[in-house]
Amino acid sequence: MIYIIVTIAVVLTLVSIILYNRLIQKKNAIDNAYFSMDVMLKKRYDLIPQLVETVKGYMHHEKDVLLQLTELRQRVLTGNLNTNEKVELDNRINSNLQNIVASFENYPQLKASDNFLHLQRSINETEEQLAASRRFYNTAVNDYHNAIEMFPSSIIASWMRLKHKTFFSIAGEHRHTPSINFNK
């Protein structure tokens, strides 16, 4: 009888260790995905001064938006922000950036500039890399949610007090490739 009890205890301990490690692995995967997203966001922030410098001579009507964009970038890079504040600022940067990209069409002389074309390519690339890193983050969060909700790992998860994480909203981002014409 004692052997059966010991065997069950050993099996339960082993299963618990495996489940615990898996949960830690999934939690770390989210941190890893968040880090890669952060790298892409920094890449995007680095492009903002270049963008402002290249277009400010042409886009007189969007001067306020450009100024706001520079300020937001400064705040996100220098401020000691928590995740929610960071996400909020990032959303505002995103919206300003999209407004500027949308008004490129009104400045045909911009499209004649090689600097601008190169910059636009870099923006497209960074935006798509950012979208990819957000998708990776969301997949990691989804895996983690499955693990903390499904039995039997849900027992270990509640013991570890693991909480749900927020998904990043991709909102149809780059569902279709941006239709930007590079013909001068």
Partner: protein, 315 residues
Amino acid sequence: MSAEKSFEEFCRDELAPQLLPFEQLRKRAATSGIIGSGLAALTFISFLIARANEAQGFFVVAFILLLPTIIFIVIYYNRKKEYVSGFKENIVHSIINFIDPNMRYNPHECIHRNDYEKSGLFLKTPDKYSGDDYVEGWRDKTVFCFSELHTQYKVSSGKSTSWHTIFKGLFFIGDFNKHFHGRTYVYSENNPQIGFFTKMFSSFAWDLEKVKLESTEFENKFVVYSNDQVEARYILTPSFMERLAKLQDLMGEGTSYSFVDTNIYVAVPIRDALFEPRIFSPNSYDCLGDYYNTVHIIFDIIDELNLNLRIWTKE
């Protein structure tokens, strides 16, 4: 491709006169082939009768027939070689030239073994590597090359050796429209290389991980592995996944894709040889149309995957 001239018109006006001498060569090769096969059959039958009845006369007949059989078979292979080589160098070359004069075609060349191995599409190292019908060129902004390939591995047990095919078909390499540094592999769900254990443990090489993607349609058709989860998603955007799924319907289920060294590699299994002319029946316009369509399969890969869209830093 000349816009003003359709392929049918090209066949009628330019290929038909060129085909005439090759038709003569084909008939000569076919005749020697038929005679050689007939003689071989007679030799074999004589030999069987001689063995069954112990009739010395049939042994003599079999030995007398053996020499002309060998001669005709040798003649057949020489004529076939001359015909196939001439046909490819002239007719197939003209078709390729008609589609795009900038494309280079070499019937005796194939995709380099290094490129095949670099693609990482096949886990087994080939013991026998062969191929032909190499074409290279560019379509709009995309540089590409393709050829027919046949790779095999050897299994030796005791004194017997058997050869097994790893890949036979069309192998395509194209310049991808985005920069990337990692390696991403897209296999069809039923690819024999992706067995039960590979699926269970989700890694077939030390640094590769299975990539879970959001599209259910795509996940039902493909299995994706990569050494960079973010980069895999950068390559496989939602719209690219849709296009890849559509292309798979066009190419057939066994097609595999890899994204390595800023190139896209596509392996399309095909049973028949690519630009091989017929010997025992005349080469109709339908056959010529097949060669024309083969090149257009490559154009389909480039167009369907939108490889000419160059809006990122890779121009």
